[in-house]
Assembly symmetry: C2
Homo-oligomer: 307 residues x 2
């Protein structure tokens, strides 16, 4: 079933211990779309500037991603520059130029109207809410956010959370949003804000899926996955968005959203995140095949299952 995703398409300049890459095609919606496209049809809503050329367009079309929702605006595309030289787990932002993104007003093409799945990538919660309200047909809605919105735009974010089925955030964000350092209790508090499921991403340590308590079945509906072990993390940018794309894309490919489908989705999320960080930007997502994904999925199962 088709997924609509709204979020950023950007150019990133990234420095890691493995080198420096100038103006990689990046942005949350880009990573999400590419990762999800291996599982389901993806339709993207974003804004880009005049520096977004046929070469970038080709990256999306190679994965059959519907770009009719990418608006071309006068000016430059969102630009981010970051460094992982001091800490490979957390970027230091050196520069952020919002450019055309500053005036982003998401427009949903009429052809996207039958998307049953909606993903609200990390953008201003006011925009997330607007897109959510404009897509009442969506049957499963997931979203992401970040510390900045939690800290300084909480009322708007709380409105978004009411309309989400699944929130995907990292450890720090979950603890900050809930005001509780115990992750199990933080998850419960976050789900009381709206989402019936919460995926907490632990970076190099994997992820946990929490479900809203159902009498007598609360604990057994939690699902934990470690991260796929990698010898070389070249560029961690986009790992979380790729996880979200693999997770949500896999769900959109399933005839029925069983508990087993959610578990496998967690594994596919980890697998997609693990590919992304092996090369700079979206390079790895552009070269892998569904066969590579399933091979790694099977290896990952071996690495984590008792028998």
């Amino acid at each position: 079933m088709p997924i609509t995703v709204v979020g950023s398409v950007a150019f990133d300049t990234v420095e890691t211990p493995f080198g420096r890459h100038e103006r990689c095609l990046a942005g949350a919606a880009t990573y999400f779309s590419l990762a999800a496209s291996f599982f389901a049809p993806v339709r993207i809503i974003a804004v880009v500037g005049e520096d977004f050329t046929a070469a970038e367009e080709a990256v999306f079309s190679a994965r059959k991603i519907d770009t009719r929702g990418i608006e071309r605006a006068p000016g430059k595309t969102f630009f981010w520059q970051g460094s992982y030289l001091e800490n490979l787990n957390e970027a230091r932002t050196l520069r952020t130029d919002l450019n055309v993104f500053a005036g982003f007003e998401p427009k949903i093409p009429a052809s996207y109207a039958d998307s049953d799945f909606l993903f609200l990538a990390n953008i201003d919660p006011v925009l997330q809410r607007r897109v959510r309200e404009a897509t009442p047909q969506a049957k499963l809605v997931a979203g992401d956010t970040m510390n900045y919105w939690i800290k300084d735009h909480k009322p708007a974010l709380l409105e978004v959370l009411k309309g989400l089925d699944i929130l995907l955030i990292n450890d720090t964000e979950a603890r900050m949003l809930a005001g509780n350092s115990n992750l199990v209790l933080a998850a419960r508090a976050v789900m009381a804000m709206g989402p019936r499921m919460l995926v907490v991403k632990h970076g190099e340590y994997g992820a946990t899926l929490f479900h809203k308590a159902v009498a007598g079945a609360q604990e057994s509906r939690t699902f934990k996955t470690p991260a796929f072990p990698l010898e070389q993390v070249v560029d961690p940018t986009g790992a979380g968005d790729s996880f979200a794309g693999g997770f949500f894309g896999y769900l959109a490919s399933q005839p029925e959203l069983t508990p087993g489908a959610f578990r496998r989705a967690m594994f596919y999320g980890s697998v997609m995140g693990s590919f992304t960080v092996e090369r700079f930007g979206t390079d790895r997502l552009q070269e892998i095949t569904r066969k590579d994904i399933d091979e790694r999925f099977n290896l990952f199962r071996e690495l984590t299952h008792l028998d």
Copy 2:
């Protein structure tokens, strides 16, 4: 098969957000012994002072732990005081009184001579090596260490590593010992120092078992387990030692050390660590039964397995 463990028996005064406990029976060898005793016969080598009474002795005898190797010395038992008020993941040491532990000379009772399993808990590597050399019959030898020995006593530690089959340490220690921040590469470097297996403990994020590379099978012999999710971590002290006890105790209970046995041992290690932190000191280890352990093992499998 019986396990001999050498290490510290101590009294801890611990402060956490859940309260303060004075002079809990503690120490690495204590946590290890209690956790391992649910799986195999355990024999302990340690030193205690005159403040170690029949009440403490009874904690070991209730779990049928052989204490003939606990030497009674004039003076006081090793005492440690720590606080988790600022950070529940890392203790701030407020006081360490080595007391009788300062002159510890491990003596191995003749009745321990048929122990096939040997665990060298975190003590001076010079003593670890002495015990290793005095127990040539041991068929599987595992050990722990800490940042202090890695930093300031590396040559002695490297001698110990040559005699170990399995080293169990945490993330920071593995990275420090190897001088490499990538865990997969750090593990490979540590195993080149001697141990053919390395268990890296990630605290609230689980643990990873690495095997020395075997041609063509290297990756698939890594095993990752998340940690069991807990609503309340009352006192994290002893989690790593309890993990080691569950892990090594389970191995000692097995007729054959198959890859499957190591995988299940990782799960039992996580389970034992998760019990320990639910109450202060060894209180929880003193009250649980093998049935509680197996129930949590099964729940943990559900929380982590695809089907």
